[in-house]
């Protein structure tokens, strides 16, 4: 029970992060409780009651355990907080405060003050994202697009209809988003959810070219992509990997079984 409660506290802390919006939410709820408005009493009660019920469900060890184990899963229990209407409550209370002001000037000051409060207690998402003018509409990294095109073209020239590509971890999430005709022995679920021998060989401290070649035969792989490295290229050539081209800082190898 205590373990579950501590877990919910940690999840809540992670969700609210380093911002103050949740503090604004609790203050808004307090204002709603203290507010004795003749109009909108029902809405006030609803917002308070709904939030209280959700928080109870979230923190109560019994309900938390049931929801974690049988409903949503422990890893994503934090998504329960998507049900918390903190955005609506802050917006509703803030708007009502502004319109409580009697003059236009006071309303404007209240509005600007509240906006500044929200801004200063949050983090601008747009400061965390950027525009890349070289990126295409698919938003796949340029080096991945270039290599995928090279792989597909090479396969066509070699008359290979079905082929499997092995690539580093910075490629894996994007290759089959770009083109699903390129098969792979594993996806982003490796090593996150499970392991794969080829991934283990590629990420070992010292690259075992022969073991990689054997794994290529076992898992029916055709092409290999690695960061450009002449030393590795020489090593891989001894194990049957033929360096075909170099694109955007990466080497493309073709595994020739014979």
């Amino acid at each position: 029970m205590i373990e579950i409660y501590n877990l919910t506290k940690q999840i809540y802390a992670n969700f609210q992060g380093f911002g103050g919006h949740f503090l604004l939410f609790w203050i808004s709820l307090l204002i709603l409780i203290l507010w004795n408005h003749k109009t909108n009493k029902k809405i006030n009660y609803f917002l308070i009651l709904y939030s209280a019920l959700l928080m109870f469900l979230f923190f109560c060890p019994i309900t938390a355990k049931i929801i974690m184990d049988y409903c949503v899963g422990r890893d994503v229990y934090w998504r329960m907080l998507w049900l918390l209407p903190y955005v609506a409550v802050i917006g509703y209370v803030a708007t009502n405060i502004i319109f409580e002001m009697t003059t236009k000037k006071k309303k404007a000051i209240a509005f600007i003050g509240i906006l500044l409060l929200i801004i200063s207690s949050g983090t601008n998402i747009y400061s965390l994202i950027s525009i890349d003018p070289t990126s295409g509409a698919a938003k796949i990294p340029n080096y991945v697009e270039a290599m995928c095109e090279e792989v597909m073209q090479t396969a066509e020239e070699q008359g290979i209809e079905e082929y499997r590509l092995v690539a580093p971890d910075n490629f894996t999430p994007f290759v089959r988003q770009y083109d699903a005709s390129i098969q792979m022995p594993y996806g982003r679920n490796v090593p996150k959810a499970k392991s794969h021998p080829i991934h283990d060989i590629l990420n070992a401290e010292v690259l075992d070219a022969k073991a990689l070649g054997d794994a290529f035969i076992e898992y029916n792989c055709t092409y290999l992509v690695l960061p450009t490295d002449d030393t590795k290229a020489t090593l891989l050539e001894t194990a049957g990997f033929e360096r075909i081209s170099q694109i955007a800082g990466y080497d493309l190898y073709y595994y020739n079984e014979s």
């Binding site: 992060g17 919006h21 609803f46 049900l83 708007t95 994202i129």
Partner: protein, 346 residues
């Protein structure tokens, strides 16, 4: 040039089809609602509910993607044409209403629209990358490549022994694939660029609706409310878990639509239930919204029920009556069905 034409075509379909679906709904239930936001929301809810009903059996019957796509396009075309014919007078009235609204110089609302357009434009050009797309976008791209519905692994391209139980009951990636197939472009382009153009404004439309639930047709209060909401959502970057982050950084994913659009919409229904303004047509829409929640994300299956459950308890306490419980239970039935199905297939 060709891409510009495809963007235009996308906008026509992504706004036109749901709007006409929404207008058909208001025609059938004799509501005089022309508002773009409200009809768009209603239309998307009905569209996703319809897709959930059609897609799940199509997956289990192992229908080819091309056949499934033709069925969907044909059915939607029929419905859209019906709406155009039945609503021909109302569409003219809607256009007249827009001009009348513009004449009233609604500066606050125009500022909000401008801000939404600016946000949408920036996000469309932004370099947004999310690793979960290695599953979701790859599911769409794999469906197009293999001409099947979720029969092949998105990670490897190999045929699966069994459907992915966690994702098969929420086939939102097929929605991406339908657009990609229709416009003949990559699923990644649909997801990372085009969907933002429709789904970000849709999310803010739900907040407009929430404002209407709080303040009726008081546009000044709704306008101020929306500006504050926008500020909260834009400044939600203090944690990767917030609905604001999901809206701004990965709206094309089903779970982001759930967090930023459908759950706030369910909350709107909660307000309407509280105010005792629910009519039969609203309960039907709520039922469709619950189905939509199942469609976009497997989380929607359980979170939808939990939210409606809390609303039901709050409503019972406030009104000291269980009068709405029958309808609320009926609305939870789709989610309950998919939850039980998941237990059997996992």
């Amino acid at each position: 040039m060709l891409m510009a034409v495809k963007i235009l075509l996308f906008l026509m379909i992504a706004y036109g089809v749901p709007y006409l679906l929404g207008m058909l709904y208001t025609f059938i239930f004799k509501k005089s609602e022309y508002n773009l936001c409200i009809n768009l929301i209603n239309g998307y809810v009905l569209l996703w509910a319809f897709l959930q009903i059609v897609t799940i059996p199509s997956i289990y019957l192992k229908i080819q993607f091309s056949t499934y796509a033709i069925i969907i396009y044909a059915l939607l075309l029929i419905v859209v044409l019906c709406s155009l014919v039945l609503n021909r007078k109302r569409l003219v009235q809607a256009l007249t209403a827009v001009f009348a609204w513009l004449k009233s110089k609604p500066w606050l609302m125009l500022i909000i629209i401008l801000l939404v357009v600016a946000q949408t434009g920036y996000l469309t050009m932004a370099n947004l990358v999310d690793y979960d797309d290695s599953l979701f976008v790859a599911i769409s791209e794999t469906a197009l490549e293999t001409n099947t519905l979720m029969e092949y692994s998105p990670y490897t391209g190999v045929k699966l022994d069994a459907f992915m139980s966690k994702y098969v009951l929420s086939p939102f990636p097929m929605f991406t694939a339908l657009f990609a197939n229709l416009l003949n472009i990559r699923a990644a382009t649909v997801a990372h660029t085009l969907f933002i153009l429709a789904l970000v404004p849709l999310a803010y439309s739900v907040w407009y609706l929430t404002g209407r639930e709080f303040y009726g047709k008081n546009d000044k209060k709704i306008g101020i409310f929306m500006l504050i909401i926008m500020c909260i959502l834009v400044f939600s970057g203090y944690s990767v878990y917030t609905p604001g982050m999901f809206l701004n950084v990965r709206i094309w994913q089903g779970k982001a639509i759930l967090a930023s659009t459908l759950l706030p919409l369910l909350f709107c229904f909660g307000l309407r239930i509280l105010k005792k303004e629910m009519k039969k047509s609203d309960w039907i829409l709520l039922f469709a919204a619950m189905l939509s929640a199942c469609y976009v994300s497997s989380m929607g299956i359980m979170l939808g029920i939990i939210m409606l459950g809390i609303i039901a308890i709050a409503d019972a306490i406030i009104h000291k009556s269980l009068s709405n419980w029958k309808n609320l239970i009926i609305c939870c039935l789709p989610n309950a069905f998919f939850a039980i199905t998941y237990i059997f297939i996992r």
